[in-house]
């Protein structure tokens, strides 16, 4: 399912918590369900700078980055992550996000390059299916 068919290797995903927000229930839960679904997940822990997240993603050679944020700083910090990926020539890494994100902000985030935004209560299956279709 999430094995890349050519090599059989697991798809690597980095789950990151940018900024100062400490709410990590959602991030840890998503990390867990992605592992259950066959992804290889690296979780950064809370309070990482966008620089730390992007460096870790490149170093760990991940295919995807999931950003979780509940503080309302998503417009600034998600953008910073995308900008840094571009600067470092790593814009092929797929970035998705989740948390307390007002629906009005979603089109803007998608326009800047966030591939999917998962709000509170999104079922695990929907997250996994969406990520798999992003990879297809």
């Amino acid at each position: 399912m999430s094995d890349s068919t050519a090599t059989g290797a697991k798809v690597r995903v980095l789950i990151g918590k940018p900024g100062l927000d400490g709410h990590d229930r959602g991030a840890k839960y998503v990390a867990h369900i992605l592992r259950d679904a066959g992804f290889e997940v690296i979780y950064t822990g809370i309070r990482r700078t966008p620089e730390q997240i992007v460096d870790a993603a490149i170093q760990e050679d991940v295919k995807m980055i999931g950003l979780s944020l509940l503080s309302g700083a998503h417009n600034t910090l998600f953008k910073r992550v995308l900008d840094l990926l571009k600067e470092k020539g790593a814009e092929d890494i797929i970035v998705f996000g989740g948390g307390t994100i007002p629906p009005d902000d979603v089109p803007g985030l998608e326009a800047m390059g966030i591939k999917a935004v998962f709000g509170p209560g999104t079922p695990a299956k929907e997250i996994v299916d969406t990520l798999n279709s992003c990879l297809a």
């Binding site: 100062l20 927000d21 990590d24 867990h32 503080s71 700083a73 417009n75 509170p120």
Partner: protein, 559 residues
């Protein structure tokens, strides 16, 4: 006595006959909806509860009377017949000017106390113009950089009349110092100030994340605050030991009680080791719990917490003042129970949670607003949340008698069970070498994460229903108006910091900060040094940096 026992036997016999007769017959024809019924915390629930012998035999020891040890039924002799709980709405956003307006609105609407939400940079001790603060300034609370902001925040609010709770932890000493300094400017001396600082760093390492310094210096700051307030701010609640965030992170009800009281044990031990007498500081310790929608479990939880804490303070710490035994608590309805789907339904959830808090005997309450799964609440939705408390207080009738669910066969047995499970967690943490060590080993975090995962899975599998999320869904357009924080707050605060720095004496500030750094190296109480720096308009970032040079920074350990 003999009569009572034989009466219990008669009940047991009759119950057996009922189980084997009508129940078996009905279940044979109409199976029950589920094979197993459980609470939201996965506690098994029986079909019917009957009198439990110990409640009858040991009424005075286990339940006693309100206002008396072990306080199972409440901490005051008359509870809400005397005075209702404090309706304290947690609020704060953007600048001090904007938040000041919201506080005045809440007071006009009948709020009886203030509860200040600070933004994350303030909570962690970064100035608004620090790189670390990018995007976060004014978002989840009000931005406070120096005493100048604090003066604006409480402009026109008399600190001798309004009690203020401040959700502030790693930088609690600084915000308390600013509050004292605002009081001085209003002509209100520190001994007249009433309120609470959260000041509970352990649950920041466990669940909430706004730590700055490592545990040892953080615990020292907390003891310094206990000591300072005992002498100078005697009516202040020096800590609000919080299960709320532990529950929000995914714990069960019993874990919430167990981990919170284990935190309390660590604070009491630290202060006693620093030479304070338990009865000098324990009466000012306060607690903070969540109220979730599983009404009866929550009521049992509050009752269990009160009884367990009283026993520990009396027996383990040999406290003699009854006020030291009392678990007084603030409650907030459960943020995680709010759904982004069909947000109006959240009003109903909050109403049930309000009842849980009140039937559980809370001393103050914040009710969440319906739109908080999506954003900070609008003024209109906050008003409905406050009205929910007022309806329970004025119309429901539950405030007319004390602990109305006391004596419920189910609630009493669940109270016993939660108390026993919470105590088992405390014993486990003792075995691990106390709370700091349990946190460093990741034990507490892992327990909570596992509970959160189990809960999530029970929803994914539809074993547990959340209305509007995995049952009774509708296609909906998100049309409710949401509150938005002005994105220019960061710039506004940066300008304010520049002005404050231009107007103050740099030389004096430097001297005060140097004195704080020097004191941090020794054993002196740091509160007077912090207060000195605050009065000279040193910023929160400068003050934290002055201590960080000595204390170092904490980084999360996890695996």
């Amino acid at each position: 006595m003999a009569d009572k026992c034989s009466n219990l036997e008669k009940i047991a016999e009759a119950k057996k006959a009922w189980d084997e007769g009508p129940v078996a017959k009905t279940c044979g024809r109409f199976p029950e909806r589920k094979e197993e019924f459980v609470t939201v915390s996965d506690e098994p629930v029986e079909r019917l509860y009957t009198p439990e012998p110990s409640v009858m035999k040991e009424y005075n020891e286990k339940l006693g009377f309100p206002g008396q040890y072990p306080f199972t039924r409440g901490v005051q002799p008359t509870m809400y017949r005397g005075r209702l709980w404090t309706m304290r709405m947690y609020a704060g956003f953007s600048t001090a000017e904007e938040s000041n307006k919201r506080y005045r609105y809440l007071l006009e609407q009948g709020s009886t106390g203030l509860s200040v939400a600070f933004d994350l940079p303030t909570q962690i001790g970064y100035d608004s113009d620090d790189d670390m603060s990018a995007g976060e300034v004014g978002k989840v609370g009000v931005a406070i950089d120096s005493l100048a902001d604090m003066e604006v925040l409480f402009d026109g609010i008399p600190l001798d009349k309004v009690s203020t709770s401040m959700t502030i932890n790693s930088s609690a000493a600084i915000l308390l110092a600013m509050y004292i300094a605002v009081g001085e400017k209003q002509g209100v001396s520190a001994d007249k100030l009433t309120g609470t600082i959260q000041n509970d760093i352990l649950k920041e390492y466990i669940a909430r994340g706004t730590y700055r310094f490592p545990p040892k210096p953080s615990l020292r700051l907390i003891s310094n605050i206990f000591e300072y307030c005992t002498k100078s701010v005697p009516r202040w609640n020096t800590i609000s030991i919080s299960g709320y965030h532990i529950r929000e992170a995914g714990s069960t009800a019993a874990q919430e009680v167990g981990f919170t009281i284990a935190d309390a044990i660590c604070y009491v031990e630290t202060a006693m080791k620093a030479g304070l007498k338990v009865d000098d500081f324990a009466p000012r310790l306060a607690f903070f719990f969540a109220a979730h929608t599983d009404l009866l479990e929550e009521v049992a939880k509050f009752r269990a917490a009160r009884r367990l804490y009283a026993k520990i303070m009396k027996e383990r710490f040999k406290a003699e003042n009854p006020k030291s035994w009392m678990l007084r608590f603030h409650t907030q309805t459960g943020g995680v129970t709010l759904t982004a789907q069909q947000p109006d339904n959240n009003i109903v959830r909050v109403a049930i949670q309000t009842l849980a808090a009140v039937l559980g005997g809370t001393q103050s309450l914040h009710t969440n607003s319906k739109d908080e799964a999506l954003a900070l609440p609008t003024e209109d939705s906050v008003r409905v949340a406050l009205r929910t408390q007022q309806i329970v207080a004025e119309e429901s009738g539950v405030t007319s008698t004390i602990d109305p669910l006391g004596g419920s066969f189910y609630v009493e047995q669940l109270t016993d069970k939660i108390e026993a499970e919470a105590l088992a967690y405390i014993e486990k943490i003792d075995e691990l070498g106390g709370m700091v060590s349990a946190i460093e080993q990741g034990y507490v975090q892992k327990e909570i994460e596992q509970s959160a995962y189990n809960y999530g899975q029970s929803i994914e599998s539809n074993d547990r229903i959340v209305v509007g999320v995995n049952k009774f869904q509708v296609e909906e357009e998100n049309t409710i108006p949401l509150f938005k924080v002005d994105e220019t707050v960061g710039k506004l605060q940066t300008d304010k910091i520049a002005k404050v720095k231009a107007d103050r004496s740099e030389e004096t500030v430097k001297a005060k900060l140097a004195a704080l750094t020097e004191a941090s190296k020794g054993d002196d109480n740091l509160m007077p040094f912090i207060l000195d720096a605050v009065r000279e308009y040193a910023t929160i970032g400068e003050i934290c940096n002055a201590m960080e040079g000595v204390f170092g920074q904490y980084t999360e350990t996890f695996n």
